[in-house]
Amino acid sequence: MIKTIRPKLELLSRRLIEKIIDEAYEILDKQGIFVENKEALKLFSQAGMKVDKKTHRVHLKRRLVEKCLATAPAVIKLYDRTGERDYTVGGDEVHFDPGSAAVTILDHKTGEERKPETKDLVDFSRLTECLDNIHFQSTGLISSDVPHPIADIYRLYIGLIYSRKPVVTGTFRVESFRPMKDLLAAVRGGNKELAAKPLAIFDACPSPPLKWSNLTTQSLIDAARAGLPSELISMGMTGATSLVTISGTLVQHVAENLCGVAIVQLAKKGAPVIFGGSPSSFDMRRGTTPMGAIETMMIDAGYAQIGKYLNLPTHAYMGLSDAKTNDAQAGLETGLGAVLGALAGVNVISGPGMLDFESCQSLEKLVIDDEICGMAYRLIAGIAQREDPIATDKFEGFTPETQFLSMPHTKKWYRMEHSYPLIADRDTYDAWVALGRKPIAERASEHVEKILRSNPPALVEKDVRNELTRILTAYAKDNGIASLPALP
């Protein structure tokens, strides 16, 4: 059997990759990078780097960063809530997760964006749990009915109760890491167990240009020590917070991420770290950050290729849209992003469900996007030979009356070779009319309701749940919050 090739997208030549990396190292050394975190500065100092304590500027030497790269694992394993199912993050494996931290949800009934509440968060987690092509869950919505100081922890709490999938999350405040880790450890039954089988990824963004804030640096250090993977989310905005050229933005992206890798490895040698990002082509007309721009996706595919060259797992914010509703633009931008991301072999792709520049989640879009992700998976599975011979034996005794539909060959392969969407419209015109000329968002909404109705919640075991609630309530109390919304 001839080996199936995995189709691949590569935008950079090896020479350009090396040039971008060289320039990133030169900037880290000569200009340095700002790290506004005492502990990290101390780590750099101890490693022999020149540190200006007043300005928080660190001059990073290439040999230190290369040493750190050598100890960062190329492949990470993530485990679901049960600890039984594992996911490989590395190589050309692709895992989609819903875009995270949306400020609003698109209310299907009114067509308006509104503030999400606990019930939305629960529906979102339950839905994510049921979508086959979305491998990870994310702490995707900010509940407006819980007080802000616990908003980041609360999302994780709900996610852990209602879904088994590994979680992509992040902190909004330095103090939040501890209780979030405690929730994760409670599921696993201990800190050691959690480090052995990581259940979550923590996103941490440098502040472009060339700065790591106290909050996100602390998150890197804390996650490294807890054995949890960090995702480095560098996000230059072309011409606004990074150079306007794509290659120039890539240089800055690589410099910021390399500093992140160094922080993680100095905090704990061998700790898992993912080379990610959420850069964007900055719209010079509107001052917005379009995630659906083709140039945004080019930056993503570019740095992902560099991440692979550096032998690190990769991540990107792709498969999302700037549209405000589930229209043609939403499908177009999401489809492009999901397909290009999968072809680029990005290991963690965050985006499905998202609209309006990373700010609005839509349950309807999430189920549409699940189907899009399915198509992307099919594409990268490639064209396989399947049988030997491929066809000649099937044509033996061929006549014009030969029936393909009833051939055993057809029955054997049709489900593997092809996919059958539930939401995309493949009806004939008459059937489409007879079904009420429903636009895709309408069909998606029915699908959402059907999934939520027919799948009982994948609830965590009772005693674990009690422990999660205890941790959350204790933390809420410390923050002066007496009561929390009742869960459905």
Binding site: V103, I142, S144, H148, P149, A151, F172, R173, S207, S213, M237, G239, A240, T241, M284, R285, R286, G287, S359
Partner: protein, 216 residues
């Protein structure tokens, strides 16, 4: 050079975003002992107004807009000390204190708003990002500002906008400053809910709103 010619050249320098020329022309005007308020009103202001028009028509994008705004700032930095020396009161269109609220480091949008306001002749005191709420009020009192502008990009920190207004109420300073809010999670509804005087979704609309509130 005739006065009119100088004004025309100033206007053009602003429109085309040539900073050193905008500064040089300001120096020339000082040397020629021209009426500097007239220089501003007839040279610089029409320039930045045309820039605004070009933006609205869709000819100009942010890089042109911000470059011109920076030219204005540079020229004003030449003229202001001279005006102060001569104790000439320019017709200030209004004074604003602006910043991103505490806990929040998103400052790109705030910077755009500050640049555009200052280019349009408003006195802008930019406090930066992650600014303590008390600091806004202190600065506003100290500089006798007309507006306090609060930017917030996080759902957690937008609460700071509400708290700032409550703080003003506590200090009985409510009517004294108009409070404007903005940033991605904010909207008109939020502004109404917390009793802010205004909200704008982008920098150009922010300029329009401030002009309206100043009755200009």
């Amino acid at each position: 050079m005739k006065k009119e010619e100088l004004f025309a050249r100033i206007e053009k320098a602003i429109i085309e975003g040539r900073k050193s020329e905008a500064e040089d022309l300001a120096r020339e005007a000082v040397k020629a002992k021209l009426d500097l308020t007239e220089v501003i009103e007839k040279g610089y202001v029409p320039g930045i107004q045309k820039v605004g028009d070009l933006w609205e028509k869709g000819d100009y994008f942010l890089p042109e807009l911000i470059t011109s705004a920076e030219c204005m700032k540079a020229a004003m930095a030449v003229l202001q000390p001279e005006l102060d020396k001569a104790k000439i009161q320019t017709r200030s269109r209004g004074k604003l204190v602006i910043g991103t609220v505490e806990g929040d480091i998103h400052d790109i949008g705030k910077n755009l708003v500050a640049s555009m306001l200052s280019a349009n002749g408003f006195d802008v005191v930019d406090l930066g990002a992650d600014v303590k709420l008390e600091k806004f009020i202190e600065k506003a009192e100290e500089t006798k500002a007309d507006f306090i502008c609060l930017s917030a990009l996080l759902t957690t920190t937008m609460l700071g906008q509400k708290k700032a207004i409550e703080l003003l109420k506590q200090k009985n300073l409510c009517g004294k400053f108009k409070v404007l809010v903005g940033g991605a999670p904010a909207n008109q509804k939020w502004a109404d809910e917390i009793g802010a005087d205004g909200y704008a979704e982008n920098a150009m609309l922010a300029v329009k709103m401030v002009k309206r509130l100043m009755g200009a």
